[in-house]
Amino acid sequence: MEISIRRASADDLPAIVEILNHGIKTRHSVGYFSAQTVPDMQDWFKIHLDKRFPLFLAETENKTTGWISMSPYRKGREAFNRTGEISAYIHEEYQRCGIGQILLDYMLAFAKASGFKTILAVVFNRNLASIQLLEKNKFEKLGFIPEVAEIDGVILNHLFYGTRI
């Protein structure tokens, strides 16, 4: 199989939401309790129309198999202009085969070229796949927010990971 990466447009929202919904279903990430629809996510996607905050799609065999997004951290406050927060989701059938790594490489190269200095990623403490990916790529655990969420009666913590680029 082959893989390619491109920037998402509003037309890609259905594929993006489908992959997000899998993350919701496994309860390891996101934080929504029920599947989201395309209209639900339209507002959220608007930020990614901004050149500085793209969402990149991974496609294999013309199928969207994952995505990574760059979002502002503390939106609108100039002091945080060089800081961005990333999120990535991989299609359930295509996990563990390197797509997350490729998306992350791609995003970090983009971020560097676009003048970002600090990249943050916020994950639940039980999201092992993301934690491993981040640690393998020299993200450091910078912060720990205990008992910040509850999913199905389980209290979850947030981990803040970050790297300087």
């Binding site: 199989m1 085969c97 490729i102 190269a109 403490n125 913590n157």
Partner: protein
């Protein structure tokens, strides 16, 4: 409060010297399945993407279709790829088979064949998640080269990616990075696409040969189905195998090697797999074509009905004879002996033609196998 789960260490560091390589077979199928996991490496691929039509591949993603197709190939002893094994566990996979197995490559515009040399292709790589980022790809490629050398494979071809400088990184999983291939000694063979070159590692140039099996499918002894023979050679790594008629004629391509060694190899293969002691005589296709061009038959003036034969001899004969040499009842006439072959005319006597093989073996004192000249002409045209 500490996180409930701590991520495990990314994986043990593989000690390169302890990594061994073996072709996927029935006996290591379970290790292969262990490496590929529930998703067949990625998206239920099971390494079938390059081997199937796109539509068939899509169908195969459901209900273990692609997995079963791969299993079928393995159970039929077809070459599929090489596993890297460490501590009894498969840590890597490299698709590796004759290029024509990979339909997707054969239909590719970027990776069109650059010549008709038989090559084995590496279209895809897969390293177990916990073993990535250890720099294993060069070691894996060296393992493949070593395997190819031991199995008489002449040329290895692959299709890696060269990341474009100054731009965002190109995604490269599965096909591999050019720099790994370059480090293992591969060289660019074609660059139709600037950042998707075709690379090759040439171990040996290869050639087309014809094997003639002696004394099979005659008189009800040593019966070998040609289909079985074809399959046997293909699974032993011989390429472009074709058989012609039942008398035991096999065309194949393999890395260049002295003919007596090739003869021994094939005899051992037949003995081991079919339990048959068969003498195998081999000529390169070039030699056979030379024989076809310089044959003595068309210049003969022959009265009555006759047939032409070529006897292939197991070695040069020390017996001095003067030509033409006739058999006692004149039904056989040896017109030329030329190195390891004899050209013979069989004349019709009382409505019957003599068959030269026993005669030629007796007078020359060497083993031989004989074919009708028509068969030789057909062979050189294949």
């Amino acid at each position: 409060m500490e996180p409930a789960f701590k991520p495990g260490v990314a994986g043990e560091m593989v000690i390169p010297g302890e990594l061994t390589f073996e072709a996927l077979s029935k006996s290591n199928w379970n290790q292969f399945v262990g490496l590929f996991g529930e998703k067949g490496a990625c998206g239920n691929c099971w390494c079938m993407a390059f081997r199937l039509k796109k539509a068939d591949f899509e169908v195969g993603k459901a209900n273990d279709g692609n997995k079963n197709l791969m299993k079928q190939l393995v159970w039929n002893n077809q070459p599929t790829g090489i596993l890297g094994i460490w501590k009894g566990k498969a840590v890597s996979w490299c698709a590796f088979a004759p290029r024509d197995v990979f339909r997707r490559l054969e239909n590719s515009r970027v990776h069109k064949r650059i010549d008709d040399k038989p090559v084995w292709s590496i279209p895809c790589f897969f390293i177990g998640k916990e073993f990535r980022k250890q720099g294993l790809s060069v070691i894996i490629l060296e393992g493949i080269i070593d395997y190819a050398r031991k199995n008489n494979i002449g040329i290895i071809e692959a299709y890696p990616v060269i990341p474009t400088k100054g731009k965002l990184p190109d995604p490269f999983v599965w096909t591999g990075l050019f720099k790994s291939f370059a480090r293992a000694g591969f060289q660019i063979a074609d660059q139709t696409s600037k950042n998707r070159p075709m690379v090759r590692y040439v171990l040996k140039e290869s050639s087309k040969f014809v094997a003639f099996l002696r004394g099979i499918n005659v008189g009800g002894r040593k019966i070998i189905k040609m289909e079985e023979l074809n399959h046997l050679l293909t699974s032993a790594g011989y390429m472009e195998v074709h058989t012609l008629i039942q008398s035991g004629n096999v065309i194949f391509t393999t890395a260049e090697k002295p003919v007596p060694e090739l003869e021994n190899d094939l005899e051992a293969l037949l003995k081991l797999n079919l339990g048959l002691d068969v003498r195998v005589l081999i000529r390169s296709m070039d030699e056979l074509k030379r024989m076809a061009r310089s044959q003595p038959f068309s210049e003969l003036k022959i009265q009555g009905r006759s047939k032409f034969y070529l006897s292939l001899l197991s070695s040069h004969s020390n017996v001095k004879i003067s030509l033409p040499l006739f058999s006692a009842n004149k039904d056989l006439e040896v017109t030329r002996i030329d190195g390891r072959q004899a050209y013979i005319v069989s004349h019709e006597i009382n409505g019957r033609f003599g068959f030269p093989n026993n005669f030629i073996e007796e007078i020359l004192g060497v083993e031989a196998t004989t074919r009708n000249w028509n068969t030789i002409e057909k062979l050189v045209k294949v």
